[in-house]
Symmetry: C2
Subunit: 170 residues, 2 copies
Amino acid sequence: MDNSKLKELVRNNFTDYLNLHKHRKTPERYAILEHIYAKKGHFDMDSLYNSMQESAFRVSRATLYNTIELLLDCGLVVKHQFGANVSQYERAYGNDNHDHLICLSCGDVKEYKNSNLFTPAQQKKLQRFKISYYSMYIYGICNKCIRAKKAEEKKNNKITESKNTRNKKK
Amino acid sequence: MDNSKLKELVRNNFTDYLNLHKHRKTPERYAILEHIYAKKGHFDMDSLYNSMQESAFRVSRATLYNTIELLLDCGLVVKHQFGANVSQYERAYGNDNHDHLICLSCGDVKEYKNSNLFTPAQQKKLQRFKISYYSMYIYGICNKCIRAKKAEEKKNNKITESKNTRNKKK
DNA sequence: ATGTATGCAAACCATTTGCAATGAC
DNA sequence: GTCATTGCAAATGGTTTGCATACAT
């Protein structure tokens, strides 16, 4: 599906949601949705705010937070809190299904294409819970940091050894 | 495994970690670990702080945050951020493996026993990433809220209908 | 003896809130 | 015309930080 079609679909989806809940269809709300679906991957509020400042349509932070709440509620946006202080968001449609590899050491987040871990059999067991979306967060140490840690530990051990040696000599 | 054996295991694990990283083995650190492994299920910093105030060993919030950082780093504690403002924590060992069902409407978090979604085949694909733990968050609407929402929508529709009727009469 | 860890209080900063002005209905 | 929504600025509150003191090594 090309992006313009996706955007139209999503806009209609949003309109239905606003109608159903008797919320007003303001230009701000559509502009925000548009901006979010113009970018792939993760974003936080600050980057969204900045990118909208630069564009034709300026919105306040308060409106950004209000609107993203609606978009979460109707399932067009997904929210992540990987462990840093800021929440990350992501459009819900048009992205491949993926898990997140989060490095506990450097905080880096990588996407990892999964094969839909969530089987129909498991969905069945959840019939009393209406699933909007799910997130798989895999925490660990990324390759880069594994190497860095090993180097650090090696260094520490060397220092200890030399200290011990000095003490013994005394 | 009974709880006292688990605690001993975990304490040794922590000691090894502290030694390796040249951190001091303070009574505060062990007391915090002890408290965490005395409770099953989720907890936040505030409840941990309060429960430790009441106990024999008082520690400051700053120390709590410092220590939990170490416990996360050595994998004895797991951190969750389900969407509310407070982070939730959980001991990493001695709990059954479970996913989390998070209601987007009321914020309630339920545990859901899974059948280890994370297969060895998938682990293989992640060989360049050393997994500490993973979290599966399933967001959606819980049964209670589904019913509440339906009731609300029904009410809204009725209001609309009566409004329309009034307008037509005018 | 040395310097890390603790406790306290202040600072931080993402997010929320209150309120007057705007504009969708 | 009404009242939900916006924008601004102030408030909130979980978490972090700075610094003097305590204590593990």
